[in-house]
């Protein structure tokens, strides 16, 4: 029990601090790395709760795909982050308001669960200690929800076709040099003579 509590507070602490570091860090690459740390500790929290499938999915999808995509974007595109950050004081009141509302909602939810006679969360079925939840999800996903699973696959296929239809251009046909244009060029089009002063450059 003690070990569990220690692990919880450790991962929760890391999660919150690294989330804070994401918005505070000056270097965008560091921000993304802190984001990955935050995702990983959230995944650890899920595993502590017994939801190991959700935890692993979080690592596979968010860390493996989304965060790496962020890294690519941050490194490849020339985004001026100091400019993005410049309006911080303007947006602060609105952000604080939204955060405050969220905090109140969280407190309300917490209070409701404390008052007796309200709904209690249902126990997971099948019970966690008999079937790991990866098994449980797999068992209904490929039987009861088999058909819906297939349709979701078709939707992904459509998304792929759509992206290709709307963006793929056929390769430019002509790759060699056109001889006629080359012959038609005259020296006056392409050569320029200039008087250059010594040690001054063009």
């Amino acid at each position: 029990m003690i070990l569990e509590a220690v692990a919880f507070y450790f991962f929760a602490g890391v999660c919150v601090t690294s989330a804070l570091a994401v918005i505070i860090a000056r270097n965008p690459v560091r921000s993304v790395l802190f984001l990955i740390l935050s995702f990983c500790s959230a995944a650890a929290l899920f595993i502590l709760l017994g939801a190991e499938f959700l935890g692993l999915i979080l690592i596979v999808v968010y860390v493996g795909a989304v965060a790496v995509l962020f890294l690519f974007v941050v490194m490849m595109l020339d985004i001026d982050f100091t400019e993005l950050r410049s309006g911080l004081l303007n947006y602060l009141p609105v952000g604080a308001l939204v955060g405050f509302i969220l905090l109140i909602e969280l407190i309300l939810v917490f209070l409701i669960t404390l008052t007796p006679g309200t709904t209690t969360p249902k126990a997971p079925s099948p019970p966690l200690h008999t079937t790991p939840n990866t098994n449980a999800i797999g068992e209904i996903l490929y039987t009861d929800y088999f058909f819906l699973f297939q349709i979701a696959g078709v939707i992904l296929l459509v998304a792929m076709i759509g992206a290709i239809v709307l963006t793929l251009r056929p390769p430019v046909q002509r790759k060699g040099l056109p001889p006629a244009e080359q012959i038609a060029r005259s020296p006056s089009d392409s050569v320029e003579t200039r008087d250059l002063v010594s040690r001054r450059g063009a």
Binding site: F147, V154, V158, G162, L166
Partner: protein, 490 residues
């Protein structure tokens, strides 16, 4: 009702029930592969696609000879009843028409790409699943499948600013409406404890005034109203109709509208019939607003595709008015209306596609002037279809409206019926104005008629169905009543 659950019990006869969908999905992937490896043989791609759709119709109608009855598959995710069969038949016909219409048009406009038939097939698959959705998850997945295909199709002419704008607008608003719909679904699931329509009906029966259920219902209805462009969720319609390539517009106005209306009917009739008094007010508001806006906003339109968009909004209003009744007669009226509206739509868009001027399509209504002297057949058929849309008596459109308003009056909703009739009188003005321009105005620049056989065939068939419907109405009346009977007992 026979329930076929899970994979273990999926005997071959259950797969036979899903044969049209399986065929569509498999052929879409086959056509995709074929198109990638043989990009030059566009004609055969279109032929295969058309053949697939015809085979799907046959696969759909084949089990009719056996006394099959209603089935639910996959724990109620899919419902196979007469309603679904009737709607799927119409949707497949609409898709077939979209393939016929597109072939020459896409060739002319240099848009000839094999992805078009693939996307049409996949969109058709989504629509077929929409009309037989039996729970919230399959409803949402089917909606997304057809929606994604339609967003791409609307932006298919990607070098045109208009088309890209149409695709983007449709995508953004469609995503927003899906979000609203999903929020509603989560509320419904939270309060009913199940996603199946049948269980929702049970929950709605035991606690019809439950606030959470009502909130969920309102959000889901708002999302569905977006999909079938009922006022006040219609804003995207005119821009998307105008910007999308014309065959795609025909597909949007035909198959997509059919599937969306069918989904609303199925959702309310299967899931919320016990709480009818709760949603009737919402549908009344949607119906009245759509009928009135459809009648008045179309008057000032100069582009035929924009005009058809407002006309579609008006027609959705009439169908929703029939849905308000929540009776067998109302649903039967909607089903008949959908079938006849589909024929008018196919006919009018074929006519629009047939008219050309130099290199561009004729879309401006003023350019129709004097059409009757140059292309008498085209003008005559177009006039028949416009009269039918206006609801002029012996034509099919009159009967469609007649059965709808009859159901409304029988349910005692006189004010709704009066508003509807007045709106259709106002709407008749702009349909008749086009006829007047074609027949009585001085000819403008000559319009060339494209030579394709497919379009002429579609136009003539649509015209003849609208002309001759009164001679043998049972051909559509009986199937529509069978379909309605599987939702609400007569």
């Amino acid at each position: 009702m026979i329930n076929l659950t899970t994979l273990q019990s999926l005997a071959p006869h259950a797969l036979l029930l899903l044969a049209p969908e399986v065929l569509l999905a498999a052929m879409a992937m086959l056509v995709l592969t074929f198109g990638v490896f043989r990009p030059k043989s566009m004609r055969s791609v279109y032929r295969i696609t058309a053949l697939t759709l015809i085979l799907a119709i046959i696969a759909l109608l084949l089990p009719l000879r056996l006394p099959l009855g209603d089935f639910t598959l996959f724990n109620g995710a899919i419902i196979m009843d007469d309603f679904a069969r009737y709607m799927k038949c119409l949707i497949l016909v609409a898709a077939l028409a979209a393939i016929f219409m597109a072939r020459d048009y896409l060739e002319r406009t240099q848009l000839q790409r094999f992805e078009y038939p693939v996307l049409i097939l996949l969109a058709t698959l989504g629509m077929c699943l929409m009309v037989s959705a039996g729970d919230l998850i399959s409803m949402y997945l089917a909606l997304e499948l057809q929606g994604l295909c339609l967003y791409v199709l609307a932006a298919f002419k990607r070098d045109s600013l208009r088309s890209s704008e149409a695709g983007l607008k449709y995508f953004v608003l469609g995503a927003l409406s899906s979000g609203i719909l999903l929020f509603g679904c989560s509320l419904l699931y939270g309060f009913a404890g199940s996603t199946g329509f049948e269980d929702l009906a049970g929950a709605a029966g035991t606690m019809p005034e439950n606030l959470g259920l009502l909130f969920g219902l309102v959000f889901v209805l708002a999302g569905l109203a977006f999909k079938c462009s009922a006022v006040p969720f219609h804003m995207w319609t005119p821009d998307v109709y105008e910007g999308a390539p014309t065959p795609v517009t025909a597909f949007l106005a035909g198959a997509a509208k059919l599937a969306a209306v069918a989904l609303i009917v199925r959702f309310l009739a299967d899931g919320f019939l016990p709480a009818a008094t709760q949603w009737q007010q919402i549908i009344i508001a949607l119906a009245v607003a759509s009928m009135v806006l459809g009648a008045f906003a179309a008057i000032g339109q100069k582009n035929i595709k924009r005009l058809m968009a407002y006309s579609a909004i008006g027609h959705i209003g009439y169908m929703l008015a029939a849905l308000v009744t929540a009776t067998f007669e109302g649903v039967a009226g909607i089903l008949l209306y959908l079938a006849l509206y589909l024929t008018m739509n196919i006919g009018i868009f074929s006519a629009v596609l047939m008219m050309q001027k130099q290199d561009s399509q004729v879309e401006n209504i003023s350019e129709f002037a004097g059409l009757h002297e140059r292309n008498p057949l085209l003008a005559f058929m177009l006039a028949i279809l416009l009269f039918s849309l206006a609801g002029v008596p012996p034509l099919a459109g009159f009967f469609a409206k007649f059965y709808v308003f009859l159901a409304v009056v029988e349910a005692g909703l006189y004010p709704l019926a009066i508003i509807g009739v007045l709106a259709s009188v106002v709407a008749a003005f702009y349909y008749l104005r086009i006829v007047k321009i074609m027949y009585f105005d001085a000819p403008a620049e000559p319009i060339q008629q494209t030579s394709g056989f497919g379009l002429k065939f579609l136009l003539v068939v649509a015209g003849v169905i609208n002309l001759a419907f009164f001679a043998y109405p049972a051909a559509l009346l009986i199937p529509s009543q069978l379909g309605a009977a599987s939702l609400i007992a007569p």
